[in-house]
Protein backbone atom coordinates (compact mmCIF):
# COMPACT_ATOMS: atom_id res chain seq x y z
CA UNK A 1 0.00 0.00 0.00
CA UNK A 2 1.56 3.24 -1.14
CA UNK A 3 -0.57 6.39 -1.06
CA UNK A 4 2.21 8.77 -1.96
CA UNK A 5 1.35 11.12 -4.82
CA UNK A 6 3.46 13.68 -6.58
CA UNK A 7 1.90 17.10 -6.61
CA UNK A 8 1.21 16.62 -10.34
CA UNK A 9 -0.56 13.31 -9.69
CA UNK A 10 -2.57 14.99 -6.98
CA UNK A 11 -3.85 17.80 -9.16
CA UNK A 12 -4.51 15.41 -12.06
CA UNK A 13 -6.90 13.46 -9.84
CA UNK A 14 -9.17 16.49 -9.34
CA UNK A 15 -11.86 17.50 -11.80
CA UNK A 16 -13.55 20.77 -12.68
CA UNK A 17 -16.85 21.27 -10.93
CA UNK A 18 -15.78 19.40 -7.79
CA UNK A 19 -16.63 20.42 -4.24
CA UNK A 20 -13.33 20.80 -2.41
CA UNK A 21 -12.89 21.40 1.31
CA UNK A 22 -9.75 23.19 2.41
CA UNK A 23 -8.72 22.56 6.01
CA UNK A 24 -6.82 24.95 8.29
CA UNK A 25 -8.18 28.22 9.67
CA UNK A 26 -7.78 31.67 8.06
CA UNK A 27 -4.04 32.19 7.65
CA UNK A 28 -3.18 29.14 9.76
CA UNK A 29 -1.91 25.74 8.56
CA UNK A 30 -3.42 25.91 5.10
CA UNK A 31 -2.42 23.34 2.43
CA UNK A 32 -1.03 26.13 0.26
CA UNK A 33 1.27 23.95 -1.90
CA UNK A 34 -1.84 21.99 -2.94
CA UNK A 35 -3.80 25.20 -3.46
CA UNK A 36 -1.02 26.55 -5.67
CA UNK A 37 -1.16 23.36 -7.75
CA UNK A 38 -4.84 24.11 -8.34
CA UNK A 39 -4.04 27.75 -9.19
CA UNK A 40 -1.61 26.53 -11.89
CA UNK A 41 -4.07 23.96 -13.28
CA UNK A 42 -6.93 24.14 -15.77
CA UNK A 43 -9.46 23.25 -13.07
CA UNK A 44 -12.48 25.51 -12.95
CA UNK A 45 -16.04 25.88 -11.58
CA UNK A 46 -15.01 24.66 -8.14
CA UNK A 47 -17.16 24.78 -5.03
CA UNK A 48 -14.87 25.63 -2.14
CA UNK A 49 -15.71 24.90 1.51
CA UNK A 50 -13.43 26.57 4.04
CA UNK A 51 -12.64 28.60 7.08
CA UNK A 52 -10.99 30.81 4.53
CA UNK A 53 -7.77 32.76 4.36
CA UNK A 54 -5.43 33.43 1.43
CA UNK A 55 -6.33 30.00 0.04
CA UNK A 56 -9.84 31.23 -0.74
CA UNK A 57 -8.62 34.67 -1.84
CA UNK A 58 -6.10 33.27 -4.32
CA UNK A 59 -8.61 30.81 -5.77
CA UNK A 60 -11.06 33.72 -6.19
CA UNK A 61 -8.36 35.87 -7.77
CA UNK A 62 -7.65 33.14 -10.32
CA UNK A 63 -11.33 32.71 -11.15
CA UNK A 64 -11.43 29.09 -9.99
CA UNK A 65 -14.39 29.48 -7.66
CA UNK A 66 -17.99 29.06 -8.78
CA UNK A 67 -19.46 28.72 -5.32
CA UNK A 68 -18.05 29.52 -1.91
CA UNK A 69 -19.30 27.92 1.30
CA UNK A 70 -17.59 29.65 4.19
CA UNK A 71 -17.63 30.56 7.88
CA UNK A 72 -15.37 33.55 7.33
CA UNK A 73 -12.55 34.67 5.06
CA UNK A 74 -9.81 36.55 6.89
CA UNK A 75 -6.05 36.76 7.31
CA UNK A 76 -6.15 37.67 11.03
CA UNK A 77 -3.72 40.58 11.13
CA UNK A 78 -5.17 41.65 7.76
CA UNK A 79 -8.81 41.15 8.73
CA UNK A 80 -10.42 41.59 5.32
CA UNK A 81 -9.32 39.23 2.55
CA UNK A 82 -8.93 41.50 -0.50
CA UNK A 83 -9.58 39.12 -3.39
CA UNK A 84 -12.51 37.41 -1.70
CA UNK A 85 -13.98 40.89 -1.18
CA UNK A 86 -13.45 41.85 -4.79
CA UNK A 87 -15.08 38.68 -6.07
CA UNK A 88 -18.09 38.85 -3.82
CA UNK A 89 -18.59 42.58 -4.34
CA UNK A 90 -18.51 41.94 -8.10
CA UNK A 91 -21.28 39.37 -7.70
CA UNK A 92 -18.93 36.76 -9.19
CA UNK A 93 -19.59 34.03 -6.61
CA UNK A 94 -22.47 31.82 -5.64
CA UNK A 95 -22.45 32.19 -1.88
CA UNK A 96 -23.43 30.10 1.10
CA UNK A 97 -22.44 32.09 4.15
CA UNK A 98 -22.39 30.02 7.33
CA UNK A 99 -21.81 30.45 10.99
CA UNK A 100 -18.43 28.89 11.89
CA UNK A 101 -20.13 26.26 14.04
CA UNK A 102 -22.63 25.39 11.31
CA UNK A 103 -19.79 24.64 8.92
CA UNK A 104 -18.19 21.98 11.13
CA UNK A 105 -21.65 20.62 11.95
CA UNK A 106 -22.36 20.14 8.24
CA UNK A 107 -19.03 18.34 7.82
CA UNK A 108 -19.92 16.08 10.73
CA UNK A 109 -23.32 15.30 9.18
CA UNK A 110 -21.52 14.31 5.97
CA UNK A 111 -19.00 12.20 7.88
CA UNK A 112 -21.77 10.35 9.71
CA UNK A 113 -23.75 9.87 6.47
CA UNK A 114 -26.67 11.82 7.89
CA UNK A 115 -28.80 14.17 5.77
CA UNK A 116 -28.58 16.89 8.43
CA UNK A 117 -27.81 17.60 12.06
CA UNK A 118 -30.06 19.78 14.22
CA UNK A 119 -28.80 22.95 15.90
CA UNK A 120 -29.95 26.19 17.45
CA UNK A 121 -27.38 28.04 15.41
CA UNK A 122 -28.51 30.22 12.54
CA UNK A 123 -32.09 30.54 13.80
CA UNK A 124 -33.28 34.13 13.75
CA UNK A 125 -30.46 35.40 11.51
CA UNK A 126 -30.02 36.27 7.85
CA UNK A 127 -27.65 33.31 7.56
CA UNK A 128 -30.77 31.19 7.82
CA UNK A 129 -32.82 33.39 5.50
CA UNK A 130 -30.23 33.69 2.72
CA UNK A 131 -28.96 30.13 3.04
CA UNK A 132 -32.37 28.61 2.47
CA UNK A 133 -32.07 26.50 5.61
CA UNK A 134 -35.07 24.55 6.79
CA UNK A 135 -36.15 23.59 10.26
CA UNK A 136 -37.04 20.29 11.89
CA UNK A 137 -39.21 19.63 14.91
CA UNK A 138 -38.13 17.39 17.75
CA UNK A 139 -40.30 14.25 17.73
CA UNK A 140 -40.11 14.15 21.54
CA UNK A 141 -42.36 15.86 24.05
CA UNK A 142 -40.39 19.12 23.94
CA UNK A 143 -41.42 19.60 20.30
CA UNK A 144 -38.58 22.08 19.85
CA UNK A 145 -38.00 23.54 16.39
CA UNK A 146 -34.37 23.46 15.28
CA UNK A 147 -32.39 24.41 12.21
CA UNK A 148 -31.48 21.36 10.12
CA UNK A 149 -27.89 21.85 8.99
CA UNK A 150 -27.51 19.83 5.79
CA UNK A 151 -24.52 17.58 5.26
CA UNK A 152 -21.62 19.29 3.50
CA UNK A 153 -20.37 16.43 1.36
CA UNK A 154 -16.99 17.00 -0.19
CA UNK A 155 -15.55 15.40 -3.30
CA UNK A 156 -12.09 16.14 -1.99
CA UNK A 157 -10.51 17.58 1.14
CA UNK A 158 -7.05 19.13 1.33
CA UNK A 159 -4.99 19.19 4.52
CA UNK A 160 -1.44 20.17 5.40
CA UNK A 161 0.22 18.44 8.36
CA UNK A 162 3.65 17.85 9.78
CA UNK A 163 4.17 14.19 8.99
CA UNK A 164 2.64 11.47 6.87
CA UNK A 165 3.63 7.97 5.92
CA UNK A 166 3.03 6.07 2.67
CA UNK A 167 0.09 4.20 4.16
CA UNK A 168 -1.73 7.44 4.98
CA UNK A 169 -0.97 7.71 8.67
CA UNK A 170 -0.65 11.41 9.42
CA UNK A 171 0.41 13.54 12.39
CA UNK A 172 -0.58 17.17 12.95
CA UNK A 173 1.42 18.85 15.71
CA UNK A 174 0.95 22.39 16.99
CA UNK A 175 -1.56 23.79 19.43
CA UNK A 176 -4.74 23.48 17.33
CA UNK A 177 -5.90 21.09 14.64
CA UNK A 178 -9.05 23.14 13.86
CA UNK A 179 -11.64 21.04 11.96
CA UNK A 180 -9.17 19.23 9.71
CA UNK A 181 -10.32 15.79 10.81
CA UNK A 182 -13.92 16.56 9.85
CA UNK A 183 -12.95 17.90 6.43
CA UNK A 184 -11.17 14.57 5.93
CA UNK A 185 -14.06 12.40 7.09
CA UNK A 186 -16.60 14.41 5.08
CA UNK A 187 -14.70 13.87 1.83
CA UNK A 188 -14.77 11.19 -0.82
CA UNK A 189 -11.02 11.60 -1.22
CA UNK A 190 -8.69 13.38 1.17
CA UNK A 191 -5.27 14.56 0.08
CA UNK A 192 -2.78 15.41 2.78
CA UNK A 193 0.40 17.32 2.13
CA UNK A 194 3.06 16.97 4.78
CA UNK A 195 6.29 18.64 5.73
CA UNK A 196 7.81 15.16 5.72
CA UNK A 197 6.70 11.82 4.30
CA UNK A 198 8.23 8.74 5.92
CA UNK A 199 7.92 5.09 5.01
CA UNK A 200 6.26 4.02 8.24
CA UNK A 201 5.05 6.27 11.05
CA UNK A 202 5.41 3.50 13.63
CA UNK A 203 9.07 3.22 12.73
CA UNK A 204 9.75 6.94 12.68
CA UNK A 205 7.46 8.76 15.15
CA UNK A 206 5.60 6.24 17.35
CA UNK A 207 5.82 8.58 20.35
CA UNK A 208 3.54 11.13 18.68
CA UNK A 209 0.68 8.79 17.70
CA UNK A 210 -1.82 11.02 19.55
CA UNK A 211 -1.14 13.61 16.85
CA UNK A 212 -2.87 11.28 14.37
CA UNK A 213 -5.90 13.51 13.96
CA UNK A 214 -7.68 11.34 11.40
CA UNK A 215 -7.48 7.64 10.65
CA UNK A 216 -5.73 6.48 7.49
CA UNK A 217 -8.88 4.99 5.95
CA UNK A 218 -9.90 8.63 5.38
CA UNK A 219 -6.63 9.50 3.64
CA UNK A 220 -6.50 8.87 -0.09
CA UNK A 221 -3.17 10.42 -0.91
CA UNK A 222 -0.15 11.98 0.77
CA UNK A 223 2.12 14.52 -0.88
CA UNK A 224 5.48 15.67 0.41
CA UNK A 225 5.53 19.48 0.58
CA UNK A 226 8.20 20.93 2.86
CA UNK A 227 7.17 24.41 4.04
CA UNK A 228 3.95 23.72 2.16
CA UNK A 229 1.82 25.94 4.39
CA UNK A 230 3.66 29.12 3.36
CA UNK A 231 2.54 31.94 3.56
CA UNK A 232 0.27 30.63 6.33
CA UNK A 233 1.47 29.54 9.77
CA UNK A 234 2.64 26.05 10.68
CA UNK A 235 3.30 25.93 14.41
CA UNK A 236 5.55 24.84 15.98
CA UNK A 237 7.75 24.87 12.85
CA UNK A 238 7.24 28.31 11.32
CA UNK A 239 4.94 31.31 11.47
CA UNK A 240 2.90 33.04 8.82
CA UNK A 241 4.69 35.37 6.38
CA UNK A 242 2.90 38.63 7.09
CA UNK A 243 5.21 40.61 4.81
CA UNK A 244 4.26 38.31 1.96
CA UNK A 245 0.57 38.46 2.86
CA UNK A 246 0.75 42.25 3.02
CA UNK A 247 2.29 42.38 -0.47
CA UNK A 248 -0.45 40.02 -1.64
CA UNK A 249 -3.15 42.22 -0.11
CA UNK A 250 -1.56 45.38 -1.55
CA UNK A 251 -1.55 43.83 -5.03
CA UNK A 252 -5.35 43.83 -4.98
CA UNK A 253 -5.31 47.63 -5.16
CA UNK A 254 -3.30 47.71 -8.38
CA UNK A 255 -4.51 47.19 -11.92
CA UNK A 256 -3.32 43.73 -12.94
CA UNK A 257 -2.00 43.32 -9.41
CA UNK A 258 -2.89 39.68 -9.03
CA UNK A 259 -1.26 38.62 -12.31
CA UNK A 260 1.96 40.37 -11.35
CA UNK A 261 1.93 38.96 -7.84
CA UNK A 262 1.18 35.45 -9.10
CA UNK A 263 3.89 35.59 -11.75
CA UNK A 264 6.40 36.73 -9.14
CA UNK A 265 5.47 34.17 -6.48
CA UNK A 266 3.14 31.33 -7.55
CA UNK A 267 5.00 30.90 -10.85
CA UNK A 268 4.80 27.91 -13.15
CA UNK A 269 5.90 25.19 -10.77
CA UNK A 270 6.14 24.36 -7.08
CA UNK A 271 9.83 23.39 -7.34
CA UNK A 272 10.98 26.99 -7.59
CA UNK A 273 8.37 28.46 -5.26
CA UNK A 274 10.42 28.70 -2.08
CA UNK A 275 13.27 30.42 -3.91
CA UNK A 276 10.81 32.93 -5.34
CA UNK A 277 9.49 33.84 -1.89
CA UNK A 278 12.78 34.30 -0.09
CA UNK A 279 14.24 30.82 0.25
CA UNK A 280 13.66 27.82 2.48
CA UNK A 281 15.92 29.12 5.25
CA UNK A 282 14.00 32.38 5.56
CA UNK A 283 10.61 30.65 5.52
CA UNK A 284 11.76 28.12 8.15
CA UNK A 285 12.83 31.02 10.37
CA UNK A 286 9.51 32.91 10.26
CA UNK A 287 8.54 33.59 13.89
CA UNK A 288 5.35 32.11 15.30
CA UNK A 289 2.50 34.62 15.48
CA UNK A 290 1.52 36.12 18.83
CA UNK A 291 -2.21 36.42 19.52
Amino acid sequence: MNKQFTIEQFVASLKSGMTIGIAGWGPRRKPMALVRAILRSDLTDLTIVAYGGPDVGMLCATGKVKKLIFGFVSMDAIPLEPYFRKSREAGALDILELDEGMLQWGLKAAAFRLPFLPTHVGLGTDVMAHGGFRTVQSPYDDGEVLLAMPALKLDAALLHVHRADRRGNIQALGPDTYYDEWFARAAEKTFVSAEEVVDRMDHSYPEDARANIVERCFVHGVIEAPLGAHPTSMPPLYGWDMKHLKAYADSAREEGGWDAFAARTIGADEAGYLDRVGGAAAVSALPLPIF
Binding site: G71, H120, V121, T125, D126, H130, V145, T177
Partner: protein, 266 residues
Amino acid sequence: MTTSPEFTLCEQLIVAASEAWRGNGELVATGIGPAPRLAASLAKVTHTPELMMTDGEAWLVEDPVPIGPRGYDDRKPAGYLPFSRFFDAAVWPGKRHAMVTPSQIDRFGQTNISYLGGSYDRPKVQMLGARGFPGNSICHINSMFVPQHSKRVFVEGEVDMVSSVGYNPARRVPGARFDFVDLRLIVTDLCIMDFGGADNAIRVISLHPGITFDQVQDATGFALEAADSIAETPAPTTEQLAIIARFDPHNIRANVLKDNPAGRRL
Protein backbone atom coordinates in the same frame (compact mmCIF):
# COMPACT_ATOMS: atom_id res chain seq x y z
CA MET B 1 -8.80 53.18 46.50
CA THR B 2 -7.43 56.37 45.14
CA THR B 3 -8.19 58.05 41.88
CA SER B 4 -5.34 58.60 39.50
CA PRO B 5 -4.71 62.16 38.35
CA GLU B 6 -4.25 61.11 34.71
CA PHE B 7 -6.20 58.67 32.62
CA THR B 8 -7.56 58.37 29.11
CA LEU B 9 -11.16 57.90 28.05
CA CYS B 10 -10.17 54.52 26.64
CA GLU B 11 -8.94 53.43 30.08
CA GLN B 12 -12.20 54.64 31.57
CA LEU B 13 -14.10 52.55 29.02
CA ILE B 14 -11.96 49.49 29.72
CA VAL B 15 -12.86 49.73 33.40
CA ALA B 16 -16.54 50.20 32.54
CA ALA B 17 -16.44 47.26 30.12
CA SER B 18 -14.85 44.97 32.70
CA GLU B 19 -18.06 45.29 34.72
CA ALA B 20 -19.84 43.23 32.05
CA TRP B 21 -18.19 40.09 33.44
CA ARG B 22 -18.72 40.81 37.12
CA GLY B 23 -20.03 37.74 38.90
CA ASN B 24 -20.28 35.65 35.72
CA GLY B 25 -18.54 32.71 37.39
CA GLU B 26 -16.77 29.91 35.54
CA LEU B 27 -17.16 30.72 31.87
CA VAL B 28 -14.85 31.83 29.11
CA ALA B 29 -14.46 35.60 29.00
CA THR B 30 -13.62 36.59 25.42
CA GLY B 31 -12.82 40.18 24.56
CA ILE B 32 -12.35 40.65 20.82
CA GLY B 33 -10.08 43.61 20.15
CA PRO B 34 -7.63 45.37 22.45
CA ALA B 35 -10.04 47.24 24.77
CA PRO B 36 -12.50 44.35 25.33
CA ARG B 37 -9.58 41.98 25.90
CA LEU B 38 -8.02 44.30 28.46
CA ALA B 39 -11.43 44.66 30.09
CA ALA B 40 -11.80 40.88 30.39
CA SER B 41 -8.31 40.60 31.84
CA LEU B 42 -9.06 43.36 34.34
CA ALA B 43 -12.28 41.60 35.37
CA LYS B 44 -10.43 38.34 35.96
CA VAL B 45 -7.66 39.78 38.10
CA THR B 46 -9.93 42.06 40.13
CA HIS B 47 -13.58 41.24 40.84
CA THR B 48 -14.18 37.89 39.09
CA PRO B 49 -11.20 35.51 39.35
CA GLU B 50 -13.42 32.52 38.46
CA LEU B 51 -13.47 33.63 34.83
CA MET B 52 -11.72 31.47 32.28
CA MET B 53 -9.67 32.94 29.48
CA THR B 54 -7.48 31.85 26.57
CA ASP B 55 -4.18 33.19 25.28
CA GLY B 56 -5.96 33.99 22.01
CA GLU B 57 -4.58 30.84 20.39
CA ALA B 58 -5.45 27.53 22.05
CA TRP B 59 -4.53 27.53 25.72
CA LEU B 60 -6.54 28.40 28.80
CA VAL B 61 -4.52 30.66 31.08
CA GLU B 62 -5.01 31.68 34.70
CA ASP B 63 -2.77 34.72 34.32
CA PRO B 64 -4.20 36.84 31.49
CA VAL B 65 -1.81 37.30 28.59
CA PRO B 66 -0.63 40.84 27.79
CA ILE B 67 -1.64 42.13 24.36
CA GLY B 68 0.88 42.92 21.62
CA PRO B 69 4.36 41.56 20.98
CA ARG B 70 5.73 39.21 23.64
CA GLY B 71 7.70 35.97 23.83
CA TYR B 72 5.69 33.13 22.29
CA ASP B 73 6.21 30.93 25.33
CA ASP B 74 5.52 33.63 27.91
CA ARG B 75 1.99 32.40 28.49
CA LYS B 76 1.58 29.55 30.95
CA PRO B 77 -1.13 27.11 29.88
CA ALA B 78 -3.40 25.84 32.63
CA GLY B 79 -5.84 24.16 30.26
CA TYR B 80 -6.69 23.59 26.64
CA LEU B 81 -9.42 25.22 24.56
CA PRO B 82 -8.45 25.18 20.87
CA PHE B 83 -10.83 26.18 18.07
CA SER B 84 -11.32 22.44 17.48
CA ARG B 85 -13.16 22.27 20.84
CA PHE B 86 -14.63 25.76 20.94
CA PHE B 87 -18.17 24.96 19.83
CA ASP B 88 -18.31 21.79 21.93
CA ALA B 89 -16.97 23.28 25.11
CA ALA B 90 -17.54 27.04 25.15
CA VAL B 91 -20.09 28.32 22.65
CA TRP B 92 -22.83 25.72 22.34
CA PRO B 93 -23.07 24.79 26.05
CA GLY B 94 -23.29 28.50 26.84
CA LYS B 95 -20.05 28.67 28.82
CA ARG B 96 -18.90 31.96 27.39
CA HIS B 97 -19.44 35.71 27.53
CA ALA B 98 -17.98 37.51 24.54
CA MET B 99 -17.58 41.25 24.04
CA VAL B 100 -17.40 42.21 20.39
CA THR B 101 -17.37 45.30 18.17
CA PRO B 102 -20.01 44.90 15.46
CA SER B 103 -20.09 47.20 12.43
CA GLN B 104 -23.83 47.77 12.86
CA ILE B 105 -26.23 47.41 15.80
CA ASP B 106 -29.98 47.96 15.61
CA ARG B 107 -32.70 48.73 18.16
CA PHE B 108 -33.23 45.01 18.75
CA GLY B 109 -29.58 44.37 19.56
CA GLN B 110 -29.16 42.53 16.27
CA THR B 111 -25.68 43.09 14.84
CA ASN B 112 -23.87 42.85 11.53
CA ILE B 113 -20.26 42.02 10.67
CA SER B 114 -20.94 40.41 7.32
CA TYR B 115 -21.40 43.11 4.70
CA LEU B 116 -22.70 46.65 4.25
CA GLY B 117 -25.13 47.74 1.55
CA GLY B 118 -26.06 46.05 -1.67
CA SER B 119 -27.35 42.50 -1.47
CA TYR B 120 -26.26 39.09 -0.26
CA ASP B 121 -25.32 38.16 -3.82
CA ARG B 122 -23.58 41.43 -4.47
CA PRO B 123 -22.74 43.38 -1.33
CA LYS B 124 -21.43 46.89 -1.61
CA VAL B 125 -18.78 46.39 1.07
CA GLN B 126 -17.80 42.85 2.00
CA MET B 127 -16.56 42.45 5.57
CA LEU B 128 -15.74 39.26 7.47
CA GLY B 129 -18.83 37.15 6.99
CA ALA B 130 -21.02 36.17 9.91
CA ARG B 131 -18.15 34.30 11.62
CA GLY B 132 -19.41 32.85 14.91
CA PHE B 133 -22.04 35.53 15.54
CA PRO B 134 -25.19 33.47 14.85
CA GLY B 135 -24.05 30.78 17.28
CA ASN B 136 -22.62 33.13 19.88
CA SER B 137 -25.80 35.15 20.05
CA ILE B 138 -28.22 32.25 20.40
CA CYS B 139 -26.05 30.22 22.79
CA HIS B 140 -24.28 32.48 25.28
CA ILE B 141 -23.98 35.91 26.90
CA ASN B 142 -22.76 38.78 24.74
CA SER B 143 -21.77 42.41 25.24
CA MET B 144 -20.55 45.07 22.85
CA PHE B 145 -17.83 47.70 22.71
CA VAL B 146 -18.31 50.62 20.33
CA PRO B 147 -15.36 53.02 20.07
CA GLN B 148 -17.25 55.59 18.00
CA HIS B 149 -20.92 55.99 18.92
CA SER B 150 -22.70 57.12 15.75
CA LYS B 151 -25.72 56.57 13.57
CA ARG B 152 -23.51 54.56 11.22
CA VAL B 153 -23.14 51.96 13.96
CA PHE B 154 -26.50 52.35 15.73
CA VAL B 155 -28.60 52.19 12.58
CA GLU B 156 -32.10 53.43 12.04
CA GLY B 157 -33.74 50.30 10.65
CA GLU B 158 -32.53 46.73 10.87
CA VAL B 159 -28.86 45.99 10.30
CA ASP B 160 -27.95 45.16 6.68
CA MET B 161 -27.38 41.48 7.40
CA VAL B 162 -28.51 40.05 10.71
CA SER B 163 -25.36 38.21 11.79
CA SER B 164 -26.35 37.90 15.44
CA VAL B 165 -29.72 37.38 17.06
CA GLY B 166 -31.20 40.09 19.21
CA TYR B 167 -34.67 40.66 20.63
CA ASN B 168 -36.59 41.23 17.40
CA PRO B 169 -39.98 39.49 17.74
CA ALA B 170 -40.39 39.43 13.94
CA ARG B 171 -37.26 37.25 13.68
CA ARG B 172 -38.42 34.62 16.14
CA VAL B 173 -38.93 31.20 14.57
CA PRO B 174 -42.11 29.71 16.06
CA GLY B 175 -41.36 26.75 18.31
CA ALA B 176 -37.65 27.47 18.53
CA ARG B 177 -35.82 28.41 21.72
CA PHE B 178 -34.49 31.92 22.05
CA ASP B 179 -34.28 31.94 25.82
CA PHE B 180 -30.48 31.61 25.76
CA VAL B 181 -30.20 35.00 24.03
CA ASP B 182 -28.66 37.19 26.73
CA LEU B 183 -27.35 40.62 25.73
CA ARG B 184 -25.78 42.55 28.58
CA LEU B 185 -23.80 45.77 28.15
CA ILE B 186 -22.97 48.13 25.32
CA VAL B 187 -20.01 50.32 26.22
CA THR B 188 -19.42 53.24 23.85
CA ASP B 189 -17.27 56.35 23.88
CA LEU B 190 -20.34 58.30 25.07
CA CYS B 191 -22.20 56.05 27.47
CA ILE B 192 -23.03 52.64 28.84
CA MET B 193 -26.27 50.96 27.81
CA ASP B 194 -28.05 47.75 28.64
CA PHE B 195 -31.12 45.91 27.39
CA GLY B 196 -33.26 46.68 30.42
CA GLY B 197 -35.89 48.78 28.64
CA ALA B 198 -39.40 47.69 27.68
CA ASP B 199 -39.22 44.34 25.81
CA ASN B 200 -35.43 44.41 26.13
CA ALA B 201 -35.12 47.85 24.54
CA ILE B 202 -31.70 49.48 24.68
CA ARG B 203 -31.45 51.82 27.64
CA VAL B 204 -28.81 54.32 28.72
CA ILE B 205 -27.67 53.47 32.25
CA SER B 206 -24.54 55.60 32.58
CA LEU B 207 -23.20 58.69 30.84
CA HIS B 208 -19.52 59.49 30.67
CA PRO B 209 -18.70 62.76 32.44
CA GLY B 210 -19.68 65.78 30.34
CA ILE B 211 -21.94 63.79 28.01
CA THR B 212 -25.71 64.36 27.98
CA PHE B 213 -28.50 61.94 27.12
CA ASP B 214 -29.48 64.17 24.18
CA GLN B 215 -25.98 63.90 22.75
CA VAL B 216 -26.22 60.12 22.88
CA GLN B 217 -29.68 60.16 21.36
CA ASP B 218 -28.51 62.44 18.54
CA ALA B 219 -25.76 59.95 17.70
CA THR B 220 -28.15 57.00 17.64
CA GLY B 221 -30.42 55.99 14.77
CA PHE B 222 -33.29 54.86 16.99
CA ALA B 223 -35.05 56.04 20.14
CA LEU B 224 -33.20 55.18 23.33
CA GLU B 225 -34.73 54.63 26.71
CA ALA B 226 -33.22 56.17 29.80
CA ALA B 227 -32.77 54.36 33.09
CA ASP B 228 -34.73 55.83 36.01
CA SER B 229 -31.50 57.10 37.43
CA ILE B 230 -28.64 57.52 34.98
CA ALA B 231 -25.25 57.19 36.62
CA GLU B 232 -22.05 58.94 35.68
CA THR B 233 -19.30 56.62 34.55
CA PRO B 234 -16.63 56.54 37.26
CA ALA B 235 -12.96 57.33 36.77
CA PRO B 236 -10.49 54.44 36.95
CA THR B 237 -8.55 53.90 40.15
CA THR B 238 -4.76 53.92 40.20
CA GLU B 239 -4.89 50.18 40.85
CA GLN B 240 -7.03 49.59 37.76
CA LEU B 241 -4.79 51.80 35.64
CA ALA B 242 -1.72 49.89 36.77
CA ILE B 243 -3.32 46.56 35.84
CA ILE B 244 -4.35 47.88 32.42
CA ALA B 245 -0.81 49.14 31.81
CA ARG B 246 0.63 45.77 32.86
CA PHE B 247 -1.54 43.92 30.31
CA ASP B 248 -0.85 46.50 27.59
CA PRO B 249 2.89 47.19 27.86
CA HIS B 250 3.04 48.61 24.30
CA ASN B 251 0.18 51.08 24.88
CA ILE B 252 -1.93 49.64 22.08
CA ARG B 253 -4.94 51.12 23.88
CA ALA B 254 -3.79 54.58 22.78
CA ASN B 255 -4.99 53.70 19.26
CA VAL B 256 -8.46 52.44 20.18
CA LEU B 257 -10.24 55.81 20.24
CA LYS B 258 -9.73 58.55 17.67
CA ASP B 259 -7.11 61.03 18.98
CA ASN B 260 -6.97 59.08 22.28
CA PRO B 261 -8.90 61.68 24.31
CA ALA B 262 -8.28 62.24 27.98
CA GLY B 263 -10.79 60.84 30.41
CA ARG B 264 -12.80 63.05 32.73
CA ARG B 265 -13.73 62.62 36.31
CA LEU B 266 -17.15 63.22 37.78
